[in-house]
């Protein structure tokens, strides 16, 4: 797993209370000014196999080609781009983009989804656009 090079400015949404706040571009984690809980701000890139119980960030998640994310619960604040394989229960506050060779297994809650032709979804309860 790698972190993306940071940009100049970032506004993030707390995945605990759902409120928007401003964060330093260099911040990796900080305390939410509204609910005082720890919020991760890293942009996550999955290269190989990554297995974990929970994965939470206010940034974005990229699962690269041939990468495999296997997790219990995933909460992403910005967006998700999948080129590899995901097996998880995912809640994303931004769009989810499934690439042409992506493989998705698990539940998904997201405002929108883009599924490229060739993507495979094997089951899972989807809540899109609600």
């Amino acid at each position: 797993m790698q972190t993306l090079p940071s940009k100049t400015f970032r506004s993030a949404t707390c995945y605990h209370c759902g409120r928007l706040f401003q964060a330093s571009t260099h911040a990796i984690t900080l305390t939410c000014p509204h609910c005082y809980k720890r919020v991760g701000l890293q942009d996550l890139i999955i290269h190989g196999l990554h297995a974990s119980k929970t994965l939470e960030t206010a940034g974005l998640l990229i699962v690269e080609k041939k990468a495999w994310l296997k997790a219990g619960k995933v909460h992403i604040g910005e967006r998700i781009e999948v080129e590899g394989r995901v097996e998880a229960t995912v809640f994303c506050e931004g769009p989810v983009i499934l690439g042409p060779r992506s493989h998705w297994t698990g539940d998904l809650t997201a405002p929108s989804i883009h599924i490229s032709p060739g993507a495979i979804i094997t089951g899972g309860y989807f809540r899109i656009g609600l």
């Binding site: 539940d107 929108s112 599924i115 094997t122 089951g123 809540r127």
Partner: protein, 166 residues
């Protein structure tokens, strides 16, 4: 979608309850309750409301669908589409603004798999499957019926004997 000459249109303000089968392209602008099957394309218009299961080669949804959607080739959910039900197709396109709630299977193997057992639902209780009545069950019932008949016959005979002696 094919040209309008081969398209069957269920107009707005029409309510149909039952099973509809189309040999060509169909366009639903009214409301349908039951099931819709099409050999060609199926288009649910903006005013269309389907409380039905949809089965077609290609399905384009602009309206509201409450029921399972199965397409052999492609499902397209446009911006105003609202779908509540299980979705099985080879290729799926969801536009920004569309909403979909239900189990989803997409891919070339999707139509071969059953939607009844959600793979991603780990803590969900497995759905019970009731096996069809087999010959052994029928035979057992037949045996029971014969047994009951014999018992009732015996009881009548005993009653008859008691009545005769009285």
């Amino acid at each position: 979608m094919s040209d309008s000459t081969n398209t069957t249109v269920i107009g707005a303000g029409t309510h149909i309850k039952g099973e509809i089968t189309f040999d060509t392209t169909a366009r639903i602008l009214g409301s349908v309750e039951g099931s819709i099957t099409s050999r060609g394309d199926l288009h649910i218009g903006e005013t269309g409301q389907c409380n039905a299961t949809l089965d077609a080669a290609r399905i384009v949804i602009d309206g509201t669908v409450e029921g399972d959607v199965t397409a052999r080739e492609r499902v397209q959910l446009n911006a105003k589409a609202v779908v509540c039900g299980d979705l099985t197709t080879t290729s799926l396109s969801v536009a920004e603004g569309a909403s979909f709630v239900g189990y989803c299977r997409v891919g070339p193997e999707a139509s071969k798999l059953k939607v009844t057992e959600p793979a991603g639902k780990t803590n969900a209780a497995p759905r019970a499957t009731i096996p069809a009545a087999s010959e052994t069950i029928n035979a057992a019932f037949a045996g029971l019926e014969a047994k009951f008949a014999a018992m009732s016959k015996g009881k009548n005979q005993v009653n008859g004997e008691v009545a005769a002696s009285a």
